[in-house]
Assembly symmetry: C2
DNA sequence: GTCTACAAGATTGTTAACAATCCTCCTACA
DNA sequence: TGTAGGAGGATTGTTAACAATCTTGTAGAC
């Protein structure tokens, strides 16, 4: 597998993934020549990619001092989650208005799998399914502006997403909350869906706040 | 005033302003050499600035075909307003929790000026004051994540912000709604503040929907 | 032993030139 | 008359070299 020549968009996606999956760690310096060599492209491309990632909140650049992976503090992670609550509640509302039968079937399928995971104590798969479910809801809402905001918020806080589900009693609660959200969407009740999603994510916020206190 | 040499940040801000204030019109092509000459910098700088503005939603770039000012359709403007509603409600909630006496005084001052504008029928000044008031509320919330989202949303939809206030009966209603928001913030009632802000912006959304139907 | 000054290396910022691509307009041909 | 093809110009994409800035390590003064 030789090093291919990559265009800007591909470089952007790869670098973004490296930051999100932790290949590049928070506060790690991003040296242009380094990245250019690793991605098989020139410095100019890396430069514009870094600018984009800064605008997206994944990277910090300082004049004459280069770029580094942005470190998101626990306080910031909470802020991000609060903002997500606002956006996802909106998306749940629209999903209740615009979801098609296929969308709802997919949600129920994922929910059933999540149920199985909790019974088996497989919290890693549960987290993945949870992310997938939220994505399906976002897509069912057919609201690109909100979906876009959510995606950038999500990418900034991936490192904190596994924490809350580990709190004692959380899995069962979380499952019930998701159930309420999907039931409201299935009967096309926007108010109930928004309310249920807000309740769900407020619960997550609260858990995260308590976790922060503990440590 | 000779052409100064400008660094990236300055170029970014200037170009951004040109787009927001309409100096550069929607769908207008952004030619790198052109902008470089106008801003007194090189193509490389312009290139990264355009990448940032694309990520911010103010510019669209197509490979090998350059960049243009993004045209925001009325449908999208509505989506943006809906997202703003979610974010600003959150900010109102936090403003109610964290506003200091100075913040509240500033809000009341702006509200009084808005009152005067409505009486004199000066809707242009009213719009400006309206923007300023929302900004003060956002700052009083001390929630940088939400504030940042709001700023990018706002910049995308400036072209539509003057429309709704022109609807018959809107100024008086708008004034009353702002009054309710600020009263809730002043007595530090987060639920009421969030609710009042949501009601206010939902009203704006509704007006915009009706305006769209009309035309 | 600690601090300052300075030199060397590393990294970013800027410029210019070249290559690749796209767009426009003109011509030739059916 | 209308359409395919191609030449030329305009614009973007890429590369390399150079300039400016920062960082690091070392030597010398106190």
């Amino acid at each position: 597998m030789g090093t291919q020549l990559l265009n800007e968009q591909t470089c952007y996606e790869r670098l973004r993934n490296w930051i999100i999956d932790g290949t590049l760690q928070p506060n790690e310096r991003l040296i242009e020549l380094d990245l250019a060599a690793r991605l098989g492209t020139g410095r100019a491309t890396i430069r514009t990619v870094l600018a984009r990632l800064e605008q997206e909140g994944l990277v910090v650049r300082e004049p004459n001092r280069g770029a580094r992976v942005r470190f998101v503090s626990p306080e910031e992670a909470l802020e991000i989650l609060e903002a997500r609550t606002a956006i996802e509640s909106l998306l749940a509302r629209f999903a209740a208005m615009r979801a098609r039968p296929e969308d709802i079937a997919q949600m129920r399928d994922l929910l059933a799998q999540m149920h199985a995971c909790v019974e088996q104590g497989d919290l890693v798969s549960y987290s993945a399914l949870n992310t997938a479910l939220h994505r399906v809801i976002a897509e069912a809402a057919r609201h690109r502006t909100a979906a876009r905001l959510l995606e950038t918020l999500g990418s900034q806080s991936v490192r904190y997403q596994y924490r809350t589900i580990l709190a004692p009693g959380r899995p069962a609660t979380s499952l019930a909350e998701h159930d309420a959200v999907i039931r409201a969407i299935a009967v096309h009740d926007p108010d109930a869906a928004e309310q249920a999603m807000r309740a769900h994510l407020s619960g997550v916020c609260e858990t995260l706040r308590r976790l922060k206190q503990g440590h």
